[in-house]
Every structure is written in structure tokens, then in C-alpha cells.
């Protein structure tokens, strides 16, 4: 049996390349329409990762760079499932995150914001989803920070999320926002997304059931990747 094709990407929920209020996009956005490709072996395959590639501590940002103690800030758990558009779990897929520290400062040689580096916080983590698509990170809630776009733009607190799936056409980088953050409504990068529901879907929800009492607040964030067709009459990738 030939493998089924993936659903087309719904470009109406993704930000277009050119979003002038996010100024950096102006010179970095292609102007010609993309050429639409039907799936071939080059798109439906993609890299696979295993437990030999990463270490168990990699998903614990409170500990994975700690030198002299725990990092400063609000202790949180971010957890959820990696699913596809058919609501099936995406198991054993690599999820990587990166973020600013509690003061809104990144551990990056190019970040010069006046908030201090936290000596005990690296700001990155990675894990594999389990057989049910579940993943979890322990970290510090990132702080908001200013950025150069207009002179008074602030990024809402966010965590960058990178996910693979099983085919290269599922590759996705997005950002996780936090329920209730008033800066979400003012952010030109968030507003690049033309669909309000799609923004809601990037907003992690407070999850009191997963909170660890007297220890850490939990937020739930499900990630949805493209799904494959499952109709009886699917196209075939090869053959006549």
C-alpha cells in the first residue's frame, strides 16, 4: 500500500511572509508566490531522533544549567501533547524550546537588554514526546522584554517551540504565550497571525490539575502538526 498524503497546509491561519508592522519581515519576505508541490518522498520523510540523542535532564530548565543554585523566577511546568490534524498523537518526536530568563534577558551574545543574565539559567531544553504524544518541560516563566521595532514594543512572555513530526513538511517553529498576558494584544509578531483562533491556540492555559502544590504552576500547551489523509480514495504518490 502506498503511503497517504498529508493535508495541505492551511496558509490562512499562518502569518504571511510580509507583515509590515513587524518591520524585519519587509526585507526578508519573498514576493513571488510559492510553487505548490504535491507530496513526494522528499517531503513525507524527515529526520528521526531517539533517546540516545538527548539526555533526561535536557527537559528540566531549572536544573540543566544550574551552577550554584536554582534560577530566579516563577517555577512552571509546561506540558501537553503533540497531535496531528486528525487528533492522533505524534509519538517520539523531538520538541525543542528556548526562552528568556525571568527578567526577559536571553543568554545570547547578541542580546544587550539591561536586565541581568541569570547565572543558573541557560534557557533551552529538549525532549521527545512519549508514545501518547505527551511532552513536559520544567522551567522558569520568562519575562517580557522590549525589542526594536517601534520604540515602545514589548514582547509578551513567550517560549519558542520547535517541532519535527515524522515528515519534513511537518517541520514547525512557533511560540507559546501565557493565558492572561495583556501584552499579547499589543504584539506585532503575534498580530502577524491573521486568525484570532489561531492565536488562542498558541496561548497556554493555566492547568491547576497539573500544578505541583507548593512547588510549580502548570500550563498546558498542545501542539498540532499537519495530518495525513485517511480516505479510501487517496491519491497515490507513485504509480499510474
Amino acid at each position: 500500500m502506498k503511503p497517504a498524503e498529508y493535508h495541505q497546509r492551511d496558509r490562512s491561519l499562518h502569518p504571511p511572509a510580509l507583515t509590515p508592522k513587524y518591520k524585519t519581515s519587509v526585507a526578508r519576505s519573498p514576493r513571488w508566490p510559492m510553487i505548490s508541490l504535491e507530496n513526494t518522498i522528499s517531503e513525507i520523510t524527515g529526520p528521526r531522533f531517539g533517546h540516545a540523542d538527548i539526555d533526561p535532564i535536557d527537559n528540566d530548565l531549572i536544573r540543566n544549567y544550574a551552577k550554584t543554585g536554582d534560577p530566579v523566577g516563577e517555577r512552571i511546568i509546561v506540558h501537553g501533547r503533540v497531535l496531528d490534524e486528525n487528533a492522533r498523537p505524534v509519538p517520539n518526536t523531538l520538541v525543542e524550546i528556548w526562552q528568556a530568563n525571568a527578567g526577559g534577558r536571553y543568554r545570547h551574545k547578541k542580546d544587550t537588554y539591561l536586565a541581568p543574565i541569570d547565572p543558573n539559567f541557560g534557557g533551552c531544553g529538549r525532549t521527545l514526546s512519549d508514545e501518547n504524544g505527551q511532552y513536559a518541560f520544567r522551567t522558569i516563566k520568562p519575562g517580557a522584554y522590549p525589542w526594536r521595532n517601534r520604540v515602545n514594543n514589548w514582547r509578551p512572555a513567550h517560549i519558542h517551540v520547535s517541532v519535527f513530526g515524522s515528515g519534513f513538511l511537518q517541520r514547525l517553529i512557533t511560540q507559546l504565550y501565557f493565558e492572561g498576558d495583556p501584552l499579547i494584544a499589543h504584539c506585532p509578531i503575534v498580530h502577524a497571525i491573521p486568525d484570532r483562533d489561531a492565536v488562542q491556540q498558541l496561548t497556554a492555559k493555566l492547568d491547576l490539575n497539573a500544578t505541583i502544590p507548593l512547588d510549580s504552576i502548570a500550563y498546558k500547551f498542545d501542539i498540532v502538526l499537519r495530518g495525513r489523509r485517511s480516505t479510501l480514495f487517496e491519491n497515490r504518490l507513485e504509480g499510474n
Binding site: P30, L37, I44, D58, E96, S162, L172, Q201
Partner: protein, 207 residues
């Protein structure tokens, strides 16, 4: 009211931002945290076939190099097999076929070492010319850009490639074909500059 379809919607993309290195290449951000950063070795030590180097720039609409870009490459081995259950066949031990490369912060130059890929099946019995699949993210890029690099020394295969031939404008097809540079230490070097805008805007694919 008609029945509901009950599909989920794909999570929306957001830019990788200027600090993508922290998450995906922390050594470049300036710190050491993981036992091993992923994507450094594309082909592994046992891959058969021609070792090659690929280098280039990503150039923005002003003609300036983009210095904070991250590229990922996905390719088959010299036999045209991807390292995947649906990849067409076995690959050498240690061959992943996936790599991650960032640009030099000062010059914007990027480069990686790998093996030249073999041709792979296309749709409807066609054959796709050897190519590298590339995915590009950066600050100011709202959703990752997919393109392909083809080889200048595969003119016949390129002329028959079903994806290249989908591009109506022949002059734009050339944007997907690397240039042959001088060999270095006996290794062929291919140059592939990616233009985000302008007269020679690279062809990008909605895959």
C-alpha cells in the same frame, strides 16, 4: 447546521527570532549546555559516495546578507534513500541525512559538509534529480521557507526533474541550481546563494 468535521487546526507558525541559536545551536549563542548539539554531522562516517561541501549566503531584499539565519537540510544518501521508514531503502550506519547550520554572525556565510545525494523517485513513475531539501528560518521570517538545491553537474537529470519543470518561468529555475566552486582539498564545493527578494528571488515551495 451541517455536521462538524472534527479536525484540529495546525498550530500557527511564529518567527524563530534573533535568538534561535539558544535553542537549536547553543554553542553559537555562546554557551555549552548539551552533551551533543544535533545536526552537526549530516552524512556520518560510513556514508558512501562523493563527499561534497555546500556554501552560500541568504540575501535579503536590500542585497545584504542575513546574518542570523538558521538552515536545515534534509537529504537522501548516494543511493537515493532517506533515513526514514518510508525512505526507499536502507542507509549506512550513522547516516541521518539531516543537518542544521547557522551563519557566521559577521559575514552571513554558511556551509556544511555532506555526501552528494542520489536521485529519488518522483510522482507517477518519474525520477527526481539529486537535490537537497532546505528549510530556512530567521528573525523576520514568519514561517519557515522551503526550497531545494540542485546540482550544476546534473544538467540532464535537472532538465527532466518534475519539480523544476513545474516552474513556469525558465529563468527562475536557475535560482535552484548551485554553482560549482573551486574544489577544496579534493572535495567539490558548491555555492548556493538564496535570495529572499529581488530580480533573482529564489523559488520557494509550498510543500
Amino acid at each position: 447546521m451541517p455536521q462538524e468535521l472534527h479536525y484540529l487546526r495546525e498550530s500557527a507558525s511564529q518567527t524563530a527570532g534573533p535568538y534561535v541559536h539558544i535553542g537549536l545551536a547553543p554553542g553559537a549563542a555562546g554557551f555549552d549546555i548539551y552533551r551533543e548539539e544535533l545536526g552537526r554531522d549530516i552524512a556520518g562516517p560510513n556514508a558512501k559516495g562523493q563527499r561534497i561541501r555546500v556554501e552560500g549566503l541568504v540575501i535579503d531584499g536590500t542585497g545584504s546578507p542575513v546574518k542570523d539565519v538558521l538552515l536545515e537540510v534534509w537529504q537522501p544518501n548516494a543511493n537515493g534513500h532517506y533515513a526514514h521508514p518510508e525512505g526507499g531503502g536502507p542507509v549506512e550506519d550513522g547516516f541521518r541525512g539531516w543537518g542544521r547550520v547557522i551563519t557566521d554572525f559577521d559575514s552571513g556565510e554558511w556551509g556544511f559538509d555532506t555526501v552528494k545525494p542520489g536521485p529519488v523517485p518522483g510522482r507517477n513513475g518519474s525520477v527526481q534529480a539529486p537535490h537537497l531539501n532546505l528549510w530556512i528560518v530567521a528573525r523576520g521570517i514568519n514561517i519557515g521557507l522551503n526550497t531545494r538545491m540542485y546540482f550544476p553537474d546534473e544538467a540532464d537529470a535537472n532538465a527532466a526533474d518534475p519539480v523544476i519543470n513545474l516552474i513556469e518561468w525558465e529563468k527562475r529555475r536557475a535560482t535552484l541550481i548551485a554553482r560549482q566552486s573551486e574544489d577544496r582539498d579534493g572535495v567539490p564545493v558548491y555555492r548556493f546563494d538564496i535570495r529572499l527578494q529581488g530580480d533573482d528571488e529564489t523559488v520557494f515551495f509550498d510543500i
